[in-house]
Amino acid sequence: MDSQIALLLGQDGLVNGAVYGLLSLALVLVFSVTRVIFVAQGEFVAFGALSLALLQAGRIPPTLWLLCALAAIALGVTLWRHYRGEQVDLRATLFWTLVMPAAAGGLILMQQQLWPQSLLAQSIATAALITPLGPLIYRLAYRPLADATVLVLLIVSVALHGVLVGLGLWFFGAEGWRTTPLSQARFDWGGVTVTGQSLAVVGLAAGLLVLMFLFFERSIVGKALRATAMNRVGARLMGIPTELAGELSFALAALIGAISGMLIAPLTTIYYDTGFLIGLKGFVAAIIGGLASYPMAIVGALIVGQLEAFSSFWASAFKEVIVFTLIIPVLLWRSLRSHTVDDEE
C-alpha cells in the first residue's frame, strides 16, 4: 500500500463515516428520548435513496402509498380512540396523518410536473415523503407499548425491520439503483483525486451536525427533547408532552435516514436491503458512544468508516466481519469499566 492508496481509502472512510455519524446521532436521539433501539433506522436510508432514484426515473415511488396507508390507519385508530372517549391529541394526529402526507403528495406532483430534472426538488420531495413515516411508525408500533421494557421495544424494532425490508423488496424490486451525483467535479489535490460528491457528502454531513447542535442547544423544541432524554418523568412534570417528543425524535430519525440515503446513493448501488447494514454500522458507532454520548458516537462513526475502508483493501471478503466484530472488543472494554449492576427499566 502506498500513501496515495492510503489517502484514497481514508477519503472513502471519511465519506462513509460521515454518513454513519449522522445515523448514529439519530439512533442515540431516538434511544434516549423513547428507549427504542431503532434497528429499522437503516430502512429509511434505503427508502430515501430508492424513492429518490424512482423520482429521477420519472416514477411515483410506492413509498407514497405506504405513507398514505400508515396515515389512514393511524388516523382511524386515533378517531376510534376519540370515539371511545379516550384522550387523544387531534392536532398532532391531523398534522402527521393529513397535512404531512398531503404535502408529500403535493411536492411529488409539483416536482414531477414542474421540475422533473431538478435534483433539489427531487431531494426535497423525497425528504417530505420519508420524514412522516417515522412518527407514524412510532404511533402505530411503539406507542401502544409505552410501558414495555427496552428488550420488548427492541424486538418490535426487529419485527419492523422485517416488515420494512419485505415491503422494500415489493416496492423497489431486487435490482439495485444509483442516483445522479450532486456534483460531477473531480479535483486533483497533490496526486489524490477527490470527487465533488465526496466533498458534498462530508460538507453536508458536517453542516447537518452543526444544525443539529444549534437545534438542541438553542431552540426550545430541541431543549425540550434533551430534557425528555435526560428524565422523562421530570420533563412531563414540566409540561413537555413526551409523546410529542417521541414523534419528533422519530421524525428527525426518518429525515436523517432519508438524507443519509440520498447522500450515499450516488456513491454506492443501493438495494432494498442495503439500508440495514448501513444502519447497523451506525449502531456500532452509537455503541462506541454507549448509546448516550453524541461526540463519542461521531468518533465511533469515523473509526467504523476507516476500519471499513481499510479492511476492504486488505481483506475485502471479510470487510463486514471485521466491522461487526469490532463491537465485541468495544463491549468488552465497556464491560470491564462498569462495576455496578444495572437494574433493567
Binding site: 433501539i37 434497528v39 408500533a141 401502544p144 407499548l145 414495555a148 421494557t149 427496552v150 428488550l151 420488548v152 427492541l154 424486538i155 418490535v156 426487529v158 419485527a159 419492523l160 425491520h161 422485517g162 416488515v163 425490508v165 419485505g166 415491503l167 423488496l169 415489493w170 424490486g173 431486487a174 447494514l277 447497523l280 449502531f283 456500532v284 455503541i287 448509546l291 471478503a317 471479510f318 463486514e320 466481519v321 461487526f324 466484530t325 463491537i327 465485541i328 472488543p329 463491549l331 468488552l332 465497556r334 464491560s335 462498569s338 462495576h339 455496578t340 449492576v341 444495572d342 437494574d343 433493567e344
Partner: protein
C-alpha cells in the same frame, strides 16, 4: 386428565402415527422439532431470564458446520485411525460443535452480560451477521456453496439416513431438552434464573452472581442451538450459509415470542406455527404480490407486532386456558372435586395464572416478648465509619458513622431526602461509597458486590418491594435460601436435587409460618396487599439465615395489628441475636421497637442515642418540626 398425561398421550399418539404419516409431513415435523430445540433455549433466555438473542441461527450454524467439516475434511480423513469406525465421526462432530459454541458463547456473554440488557441482543445482531459472512467466505467451509456429502448418523449400527428415522431422534432430543429445562426451572437455580428478569439488584442481594447466571443461561441456549444445528446438518446431509443468516436468527426469536416466551411449550407451539405459516406464505404471498421474494417476513413482522401488543405473553397461555376450559369436564370426571380443583390450580399456576386470594388471613398472633440479652455479650456486626457518597454536587451522605451490634434493633430515621436510602445502599453493597470504611463481620467490604454482603450474613428488604409478582410466596421466599443450597444446574436438570429441595422448602415454610404468611404460601406474591408483600420480603431475607437484617420501611402500609405482629417478630429475632437496622417513618413504631436511634438530616448524622434521648434532642426536634414548618 392432567396436562402431564395429556402431553404424554399426545406424544404417544404422535409416535403411533409416525410410521404412517406421509413423507412430507414427517419432514415438516422433523424441522419443527429442530426449530423448537432452538426456540426452547430462547424461551429460557427471553421470557424467563429477560435477555434476548437474534443470533441463535449463528450457533445453529456452528453446530452444523463443525460436524460437516469434521466429517468431510480430507485432513481429518488422513489422521483418522483406521481402527476406529468412521461412523464415530459425526459424534465427534457433535462434541466439536458443542466445544466451539461453548467458547464463542462464553466470550460473547462475558463481553456483554455485565452491561445492561440491550447490549447482548445488539451484539448478537452484529455477531449473527459476522458469522454468516464468515461461513460464506471461508475456503475450508466451502464458501457460499457450502459442504455436501455428509454421512448420516448411526446409532449402534442403525442408520438414521431417512428424515423419518432422524425425526424420531430430533423429537427425543426436544423432549429431553424440555424435560431438563423444566426441571432446571423448578429448582434452586431456576428461582435464581427467574429473578434475573425482575431485578438484578435484588438477585445480587440474595447472593446470586447475576452476571454469571446470565452467561450460563446464554451458553445453555447456545448449546441447544448447536445440537439442533448438528441434527440439521445430518438430516440435510449438506450445509450452506443460508439457514444460519441473521434473518433466520430473527425467525427463531419470533417463534419463541409468538408461542409464548415465558413457557417452554410456547417454543413448540411457536415453531409449529411459524413453520406451517412459512410453508403456506412462501407460495401464497409471491402470487398475491406478483413478485418473487421472501415476503413472509412482512407477515411475520406484523404478526409479531400484534402478538406483542395484544398477547404480550405469547399465544401459549391463551391456548392453555382454552384447552383447560375444554378439558374441565374430563377433569371433574377424573377424580373427586377436591383433587380436580387442586389440579386446576396447579395447572393455572403452570400457565401463569394464579388463583385469587380466598380470604384475608390475619397474621399469626403476637409472640411473647423474650428478654433482651445482656449488653456485654454483644458483638459488633456492622460498623460504618465516615461513609460519604456524592452525586455530582449533591452530598447525599456526609461522613456518616453507624454501628450495629448483635441482638439490637437500631433505627435510622430522618426527614425525606436525608440520605437514608443512599446509606442503606452503601451498607448493603448495592452502591459504593466515595469515602469511608465499612466493616461487616470483621471484614472490610470496600468495593465488594452485594452478593458478598449476602455471603457474610446480611439480609435486606427493599423500600420499593422487589418480588416476582407472578410467582408464589413460597417461591419468592425460597429465593432467599439460595445460598444455603448446593445443587447446581446439572443436578437440577437431572432431578437429583429433590432431597435438598425438600429440605429447603421445609425450612422456607417454617420461616413463612413465623412471619404469619403460611396461609398465603401458594398465592401469587403480586396478589398480596403491599403491607403483606413487605412481610414476604422480610421472610425472604430470613430464609437466608442472616445475622444482620436491614429493613427499609417495613411497617409502611401495615395495619395496626400487623404492625404489632411485626414488632413482636423483630423482638423475637433480636432475642435470637440478630442485629436489625430499620429505616422507618412511623415514629410510634420506631420508638417502641428500637434500642438505639440514629437521625440523619441533609446527609449527616445529627443525633444518636436511645429513643428517649432522641425524643428530647433539640437538633432532632428542629429538623423535624422545622421541616414541617417549611413545607
Amino acid at each position: 386428565m392432567t396436562p402431564r398425561k395429556l402431553t404424554l398421550l399426545s406424544l404417544a399418539a404422535l409416535a403411533v402415527c409416525w410410521p404412517l404419516l406421509p413423507d412430507f409431513t414427517v419432514s415438516v415435523l422433523a424441522s419443527i422439532a429442530l426449530y423448537a430445540i432452538v426456540a426452547a433455549g430462547l424461551v429460557l433466555m427471553t421470557g424467563i431470564a429477560g435477555m434476548t438473542s437474534f443470533g441463535q441461527a449463528a450457533f445453529v450454524g456452528l453446530g452444523a458446520y463443525a460436524s460437516a467439516w469434521l466429517c468431510t475434511s480430507p485432513h481429518m480423513a488422513a489422521v483418522w485411525p483406521p481402527a476406529l469406525p468412521p461412523t464415530l465421526l459425526p459424534w465427534l462432530g457433535l462434541l466439536l460443535g458443542l466445544a466451539v459454541t461453548l467458547g464463542v458463547a462464553w466470550v460473547l456473554g462475558a463481553a456483554t452480560l455485565r452491561l445492561s440488557g440491550h447490549y447482548l441482543p445488539l451484539c448478537t445482531i452484529a455477531w449473527g451477521l459476522s458469522l454468516y459472512f464468515l461461513f460464506g467466505n471461508l475456503e475450508f467451509l466451502g464458501g457460499h456453496t457450502g459442504i455436501s456429502g455428509l454421512p448420516p448418523l448411526t446409532i449402534m449400527g442403525w442408520s438414521l439416513a431417512s428424515p423419518r428415522a432422524l425425526g424420531v431422534l430430533a423429537w427425543l432430543v426436544l423432549m429431553l431438552a424440555l424435560w431438563a429445562l423444566a426441571n432446571l426451572l423448578d429448582s434452586r437455580e431456576g428461582r435464581a434464573i427467574r429473578a434475573l428478569k425482575s431485578s438484578r439488584v435484588m438477585a445480587e442481594s440474595m447472593g446470586i452472581d447475576t452476571a454469571r447466571q446470565r452467561i450460563r443461561v446464554f451458553v445453555l441456549a447456545a448449546l441447544l442451538a448447536s445440537i439442533s444445528g448438528w441434527l440439521y446438518a445430518h438430516l440435510q446431509r449438506f450445509v450452506n450459509p443460508t439457514p444460519f443468516s441473521l434473518n433466520i436468527g430473527i425467525e427463531y426469536l419470533f417463534m419463541a415470542v409468538v408461542g409464548g416466551s415465558g413457557h417452554l411449550w410456547g417454543a413448540v407451539l411457536g415453531s409449529a406455527l411459524i413453520t406451517l405459516l412459512k410453508e403456506q406464505l412462501q407460495d401464497l404471498l409471491p402470487r398475491l404480490l406478483g413478485a418473487s421474494g421472501n415476503f413472509e417476513v412482512v407477515a411475520f413482522g406484523l404478526l409479531m407486532l400484534i402478538v406483542l401488543q395484544r398477547f404480550p405473553q405469547g399465544l401459549w397461555p391463551s391456548l392453555a386456558r382454552g384447552g383447560q376450559r375444554l378439558l374441565s369436564p374430563f377433569m371433574s370426571l377424573a377424580g373427586a372435586p377436591g383433587t380436580s380443583r387442586a389440579a386446576d390450580e396447579a395447572f393455572a399456576r403452570r400457565v401463569g395464572k394464579t388463583s385469587p386470594i380466598t380470604a384475608f388471613n390475619p397474621p399469626a398472633p403476637p409472640l411473647s416478648m423474650p428478654p433482651i440479652p445482656p449488653a456485654e455479650t454483644r458483638e459488633t456486626l456492622l460498623d460504618a465509619r465516615h461513609m460519604s457518597r456524592r452525586f455530582g454536587g449533591l452530598i447525599a451522605n456526609d461522613k456518616v458513622s453507624l454501628s450495629l451490634h448483635a441482638g439490637e434493633i437500631h433505627a435510622l430515621i430522618g426527614p425525606n431526602g436525608a440520605g437514608k436510602s443512599t446509606f442503606f445502599n452503601l451498607i448493603s453493597g448495592v452502591d459504593r461509597p466515595d469515602d469511608g470504611q465499612l466493616v461487616l463481620m470483621g471484614q472490610a467490604m470496600a468495593g465488594k458486590p452485594a452478593r458478598e454482603f449476602a455471603r457474610l450474613g446480611l439480609g435486606r428488604s427493599f423500600q420499593h418491594v422487589k418480588l416476582l409478582a407472578s410467582r408464589t410466596v413460597l417461591d419468592n421466599v425460597a429465593l432467599g435460601a439460595y445460598r444455603s443450597g448446593r445443587a447446581g444446574w446439572l443436578r437440577a436438570m437431572l432431578r437429583l436435587d429433590r432431597h435438598e429441595e425438600a429440605a429447603t422448602l421445609k425450612r422456607v415454610r417454617a420461616q413463612l409460618a413465623r412471619c404469619g404468611l403460611q396461609a398465603h404460601a401458594d398465592d401469587a406474591a403480586g396478589e398480596l396487599s403491599l403491607g403483606q408483600q413487605r412481610i414476604v420480603e422480610i421472610a425472604r431475607a430470613l430464609a437466608g439465615e442472616p445475622r444482620v437484617l436491614l429493613l427499609d420501611e417495613p411497617a409502611a402500609g401495615l395495619r395496626h395489628l400487623e404492625k404489632r405482629a411485626l414488632a413482636a417478630l423483630l423482638h423475637q429475632l433480636r432475642a435470637e441475636g440478630l442485629g436489625i437496622l430499620v429505616v422507618e417513618h412511623d415514629m410510634d413504631f420506631v420508638m417502641t421497637i428500637a434500642d438505639r436511634v440514629t437521625v440523619l438530616n441533609f446527609g449527616a448524622v445529627i443525633a444518636s442515642g436511645t429513643p428517649a434521648q432522641i425524643q428530647q434532642d433539640p437538633a432532632v426536634l428542629d429538623a423535624y418540626l422545622g421541616g414541617v414548618l417549611e413545607e
